[in-house]
């Protein structure tokens, strides 16, 4: 029968990351967040633990695990903090994974060992200032001139693109026109520091403040022709498959945040007193926590199941979209309820729930908005086709 118990090695990994998040991340992350500073030391430690190599085989410097192992690590990190979780998520599923999936052997061996070790970070530039949901509307262009790609255009909101350890950004660009008149979109690897590639200062963000998000500009930026990633003209299809996987990972981050809200509230309602009673003795509070738990539990099952289908090699587009939709909802709802339970302290940055509240919103937007998830689900059901 169906059984969602974790295998021994997954459970050992989950515990290890739980311990790391509690002992290493929790004590220091608040200050990084406050200063909107990227936590290099924490990322280095995550690298030493092998988290950036989790889903990759040892032949490219990975840990020989799988995507579900990555999701478990993301959930445990996000229970404590989303900035470090998203740094890992974007580094692995957007930075390294496209190189692993679509790169040739030379590209894999050149880039992956450092990305897997966490010594370097990769980024993925799809969204443009003019639009993200309609990824086919890409305006950035790349043309072959004298054996080199010449890239012009800009990208918006790109995670991990401007850290001191960023090694590359894979960008999507229009490389021509298909016979049917559609744009031909391809993915091209742009190493950090390439002339003509500039990274804007960090955005001032509502949340994820200890993660790195930048706008990128390309002005006659030249990279060798062999930096094409995968097949020319397959860029659109490639990133759609990368995003399907990424949604399961974002669902895991969302479940972690939703769980973190419960962790914090369970502690607080047993301490805080009003009208002579612990607030946990009031049914209004108990029911909020019961709802938070129910949402988190169902969202976790949704991402476990989507991941299980993915690992079995079955189609999982609908399940991934459902997992992301319900999990980001759960994160948003739980963080709202958690800040309510904390009262005025919930609005103070010194308590994690305030940070969770600010970090939750983007989960309904990044790697496909909730509207896009609904479009995907209904399309899979054949509605409006």
């Amino acid at each position: 029968m169906i059984d969602f118990r974790l295998d021994e090695e997954y459970e050992a990994l989950r515990k290890t990351v739980e311990d790391f998040a509690r002992s290493e991340v929790a004590p220091v992350i608040g200050e990084f967040y406050e200063r909107a500073e990227f936590p290099y030391q924490l990322v280095a430690k995550m690298g030493q633990m092998g988290l950036f190599g989790l889903p990759f085989p040892e032949s490219v410097g990975g840990m020989g695990g799988d995507y579900f192992a990555l999701c478990l690590a993301l959930e445990e990190l996000a229970r404590v903090d989303s900035s470090v979780a998203i740094t890992l998520e974007a580094g692995v599923s957007l930075g390294a994974m496209p190189l692993y999936r679509f790169g040739n052997e030379e590209q894999r061996q050149r880039w992956l060992p450092r990305l897997c070790s966490g010594a370097g970070l990769g980024a993925f530039g799809l969204t443009e200032p003019g639009g993200g949901s309609d990824a086919g509307a890409t305006r950035t262009t790349a043309k072959i001139v004298d054996g080199e790609w010449v890239i012009n255009g800009s990208k918006a909101f790109i995670t991990n693109s401007g850290t001191e350890i960023t090694e590359l950004v894979t960008v999507t660009a229009v490389t021509g026109e298909k016979p049917n008149g559609h744009k031909e979109i391809s993915a091209i690897i742009v190493p950090a520091g390439t002339p003509g590639f500039t990274v804007a200062p960090k955005y001032s963000k509502v949340g994820w403040n200890a993660s790195d998000t930048r706008e990128l500009a390309f002005a006659d930026c030249r990279v060798p022709a062999e930096n094409l990633l995968g097949e020319r003209g397959r860029g659109y299809a490639q990133f759609l498959s990368i995003l399907d996987e990424g949604r399961v990972a974002i669902a895991a981050v969302s479940v972690g945040l939703a769980q973190g809200c419960i962790d914090e509230c369970l502690r607080y309602v047993g301490e805080r007193e009003t009208f002579g009673n612990k607030i946990g003795s009031y049914q209004a509070i108990q029911f909020k926590i019961a709802d938070m738990e129910a949402r988190t539990h169902t969202a976790r099952l949704a991402y476990y199941q989507a991941a299980a289908k993915m690992l079995r090699g079955e189609p999982f587009k609908k399940e991934a979209a459902i997992a992301k939709l319900v999990a980001s909802n759960a994160a948003m709802d739980n963080s709202r309820e958690a800040t309510q339970i904390f009262g005025g302290y919930g609005f103070m940055n010194e308590f994690p729930v305030g940070r969770f509240y600010r970090d939750a919103k983007i989960l309904e937007v990044g790697e496909g908005t909730s509207e896009v998830q609904r479009m995907l689900i209904s399309r899979e059901l054949g509605v409006g086709a």
Partner: protein
């Protein structure tokens, strides 16, 4: 080549509430999450660092109930090579002397041991005597409370640090036993590769009878007995000093009255 034995113990997580069992005043192991004692993680880390520099093999030795297997797995996933696990209902309630005897026999099953590394004291019992007792039983030099360890050829050098004596330098020829304190190092976290590899590493399971200690160990034969225990009293409200220009003086007076300065 340095062959190292590391003593490891599973203890209640210091994050959870720890208590004694109502019936016999032994540790209530069900009441709290059980983890590999942090000081043992440091002992393992030190062993791995020495092994990485000098080659050799790291064997973990553990006395504890079956579920201590989780602590052993963690030690193996950090990088230790194999384990000896002494698990026996008869050992329930064993005291420091008995535990040391069992450990001495268990260490004796490992061949060619150059160095034994222990934590200086476990976070549950906090007796801190096992390393010394074990060294006596095995007739080995003991270099306890180490905050720094160097192994060169056949010698081990240790910076020993205690609250009373400060820092002293010790040196002994191998084989020897050392115990380490919290300052020794920062233990590594196991990687997923390490976790997977640990599944295939050998764990030898032994009983008291296997070690020839049948009928000698356990609560009934313990040299010390816990007669009574009480939960620690709730923290009392602190004394508040309002600073009206003389705050510093008042704080100093308070500290002096408590014989703290």
């Amino acid at each position: 080549m340095t062959n190292i034995v590391v003593l490891v113990k599973q203890v209640p997580d210091t994050y959870s509430e720890r208590k004694l069992a109502a019936g016999d005043n032994t540790l209530d192991r069900e009441a709290a999450d059980a983890v590999l004692d942090e000081i043992n993680e440091r002992a393992i880390e030190e062993a791995l660092v020495i092994k990485e520099a000098n080659e050799g093999e790291v064997t973990v030795v553990c006395v504890g109930p079956d579920r201590a297997n989780d602590a052993i797995r963690k030690a193996l996933s950090m990088g230790a090579d194999k384990a000896v696990h002494v698990s026996d209902e008869a050992l329930h309630g064993a005291d420091i002397l008995q535990t040391s005897k069992v450990l001495a026999k268990a260490v004796g099953t490992v061949e060619g041991v150059d160095l034994i590394i222990a934590g200086n004291e476990a976070s549950d019992g906090r007796g801190g005597a096992v390393p010394a007792v074990l060294a006596e039983l095995l007739g080995l030099p003991q270099l306890t409370h180490a905050r720094k360890v160097t192994v060169e050829g056949g010698t081990v050098k240790v910076e020993r640090e205690t609250a009373d004596e400060g820092i002293t330098h010790l040196e002994a020829s191998l084989p020897a036993l050392i115990s380490v304190n919290e300052k020794i190092n920062e233990p590594r976290y196991p990687s997923f590769k390490g976790i997977m590899a640990a599944k295939k590493k050998p764990v030898e399971k032994l009983t008291a009878a296997d070690l020839g200690l049948d009928g000698e160990v356990g609560l009934a034969n313990a040299a010390s007995t816990v007669l009574e225990s009480a939960p620690k009293p709730p923290r009392e409200a602190g004394q508040r000093v309002d600073d009206e220009g003389d705050g510093g003086v008042k704080v100093a007076e308070y500290l002096a009255s408590q014989k703290l300065i």
